[in-house]
């Protein structure tokens, strides 16, 4: 009884959700993207960009990522499953480059080009990397922060992660720029909220309690930035400059209402798009640049509806 229902259930779910899998023809160009995450709006935007390119060029893609950015081994399993499906190329955003190297070598030996995206892959195997320059982007956030608080005072950072490349780069980009260019601004603390809204809220409240004279806070990703806004609202603190990172509905609303001064946005749609586009070029044997800078922008209430900005923001 169990086994029969078991197969039926598994198969019906499978066929329901993936009618395309049955039709996979031998000459179809299939490009799986193994990302660092899946559920966050940012990754969904990357996915939509990738899908856009896939539709344009008539290739089939899949997009997968582990539930959270600590699950290094789960990402490896995803990469292994992707390899089993005879892909023409693979898009990959490594959580930990070293761990993935055996599989990447295997792909390389099989002549499958790898396109790294987002934080990239720390290896010379990928033929190209589509990414945001996080150090420079966080530096821009520091410049904007300094400008808003008048070049002196105390600021804090609520970061999303202490081990990942983006976490480290955004934190260092901000902190180093402050140290180099703004001697009168002190970064009093860097705290981590794992990119989780609730945890980041608690972290923010703790920072504000410890530093009542704080002038500004930088949140290093979507979850962190929203957490900062929540924390400030819950404590009723006023006159604090908040600068965020990435977009999402909550963050956009906060900027429109003036709670948040502004935010850095990457170009997630562009990351996805460029990754797939580069993969197709590589499959066709064309030259691809080793580094594709997908760009970043600073946006605030004044330019949030600017078509150029609105195009890279996601809800």
């Amino acid at each position: 009884m169990f086994s029969r229902r078991f197969i039926l259930g598994a198969l019906s779910a499978a066929t329901l959700a993936a009618p395309a899998s049955m039709a996979s023809a031998a000459d179809e160009v299939y490009i799986p993207l193994v990302s660092k995450g899946f559920q966050h709006q940012f990754w969904q935007a990357v996915k939509s960009g990738a899908q856009q390119a896939a539709d344009e060029y008539g290739v089939r893609i899949t997009f997968e990522g582990p539930d959270n950015e600590t699950m290094v081994d789960r990402q490896i399993d995803m990469l292994a499953a992707a390899l089993a499906n005879n892909p023409k190329a693979i898009g990959f955003a490594a959580l930990d480059s070293q761990a993935a190297i055996p599989l990447l070598k295997q792909a390389n030996d099989a002549g499958i080009p790898i396109i790294a995206f987002d934080s990239g892959v720390d290896s010379d195997i990928p033929v190209s990397t589509a990414t945001t320059d996080n150090l420079a982007a966080a530096g821009l956030a520091a410049d904007k922060m300094a400008e808003k608080i008048g070049g002196k005072g105390k600021v804090a950072v609520v970061a999303h992660d202490q081990t990942s490349r983006t976490g480290i780069d955004r934190r260092d980009g901000f902190v180093n720029r402050m140290a180099e260019k703004y001697p009168d601004i002190e970064v009093v603390t860097v705290q981590y909220g794992q990119g989780d809204h609730l945890k980041s809220t608690e972290v923010t409240k703790a920072i504000l309690t410890a530093n009542p004279d704080l002038n500004g806070i930088f949140g290093t990703n979507e979850g962190s930035a929203i957490g900062v806004v929540n924390g400030v609202q819950e404590l009723g603190t006023e006159g604090l400059v908040i600068i965020g990172y990435d977009s999402g509905k909550a963050q956009k609303d906060a900027i429109k209402s003036g709670l948040m001064a502004g935010a850095i946005t990457q170009n997630p749609v562009g990351i996805g798009y460029e990754t797939v586009k580069a993969a197709i070029s590589a499959v066709n044997g064309e030259d691809v640049p080793a580094l594709i800078d997908t760009g970043f922008y600073y946006y605030d209430a004044s330019n949030i509806d600017d078509p150029k900005i609105a195009a890279v923001l996601y809800d």
Binding site: F2, A14, S21, D73, L83, A84, A99, Q162
Partner: protein, 335 residues
């Protein structure tokens, strides 16, 4: 002895149901059915390399699930298996990379650290009478924090320890049979499972594991020092988590200090799918192994079929509920 045969005649089904053979058969049949089902639907599924990928994906979760099985049979629960694994991986990293000790010492240190942490959990549960759920929840968080503290919140790489990555990635089997490059990690999982199975079936510790889950008070009133045996079981489970730590560190060639949360639930899911009762007293390692394999096959198969990731999670959840329901229905029938 005529009466004895009378009873036997009256309950012809009792023997089969009690031996648990039926449940194992059921789980095994489900596994085979899944394999066949996926092979039929996707030509890419049944390849040696993909089968090996599935086995490799099972190795860490399988080892943790074996550890969790031991504790669950006593009627307890261990929520700390995931972060304990990470902690042991970090200990291996500290000993091998930071202190530059030889390979064997690092492995031993990791397993010893696991056993020690297990002993701590066991002490909380047995001596301090803290419910296992709470005690191991506390351990889970303590170990998560300690892993970050000890590692300095950075991954520790094993580049300076040649051969470390071979523990999991290398293939002794592949050297003998080149067509079958099954990674050592899988081999280790099976060795751990066989050892645990032997301990459960053939040793005093194993017998008391079942007895504690079946009726702890009766065991205590039989003059057995239940506290000490319980601590030993938790320590053994901890040591096995240590092996899990070595496996994952070797596979990633690094100790990832932030990893581990959520792994305990997958391990428990494998245990439950394998037919081990959460109320204790019943369970098999073979069942757990099959449970872990079912989870890995399912995840891999759905991926190979390119099922959207949202749906993969839904299906996995449904399977867990279905598996436990099937077990319950069977037990109710057996009366």
């Amino acid at each position: 002895m005529t009466t004895a045969t009378d009873i036997e005649k009256k309950k012809p089904l009792a023997g089969l149901a009690d031996s648990g053979a039926y449940q194992k058969l059921l789980a095994f049949a489900s596994l085979i059915a899944l394999l066949i089902g996926f092979s039929v639907v996707s030509p890419n599924f049944m390849q040696t390399s993909n089968m090996i990928a599935i086995l490799q994906a099972t190795s860490v979760n399988g080892v943790l699930a074996v550890a969790a099985t031991l504790v669950i049979i006593t009627g307890g629960i261990d929520l700390s298996v995931g972060t304990l694994m990470t902690f042991c991986a970090v200990i291996a990293g500290v000993v091998l990379t930071y202190l530059g000790m030889p390979l064997l010492l690092g492995v031993t240190a990791a397993i010893a650290a696991g056993a020690l942490c297990g002993l701590c959990s066991g002490t909380f549960v047995a001596k301090m009478k803290i419910p296992p759920f709470i005690a191991t929840l506390g351990m889970m968080l303590i170990l998560k924090g300690l892993s970050l503290v000890i590692s300095g919140t950075r991954p520790i790489y094993f580049n300076d320890t040649p051969g470390f990555d071979q523990i999991s990635r290398g293939s002794l089997i592949g050297e003998v049979f080149p067509a079958l490059p099954i990674p050592n990690g899988v081999l280790i999982l099976f060795l751990v499972a066989m050892a645990a199975s032997y301990i459960l079936g053939r040793t005093v510790l194993g017998r008391y594991t079942f007895a504690l889950g079946s009726n702890e008070e009766a065991v205590r009133l039989s003059g057995v020092n239940t506290d000490i045996w319980k601590m030993r079981i938790y320590a053994l489970a901890g040591g096995i988590c240590g092996i899990g730590g070595i496996l994952i560190a070797s596979r990633l060639n690094s100790a990832q200090p932030a990893l581990g949360l959520g792994y305990e639930l997958e391990a428990i899911a494998a245990v439950v799918i394998g037919g081990t009762s959460l109320s204790g007293g019943r369970g098999t390692i073979l069942g757990t192994l099959i449970g872990a394999l079912i989870m890995a096959v399912l995840t891999n198969g759905l991926r190979v079929l390119s099922v959207a990731q949202e749906w993969q999670t839904v299906v996995t959840g449904a399977i867990i509920i279905l598996a436990v329901y099937a077990d319950m229905a069977r037990r109710k029938k057996a009366g």
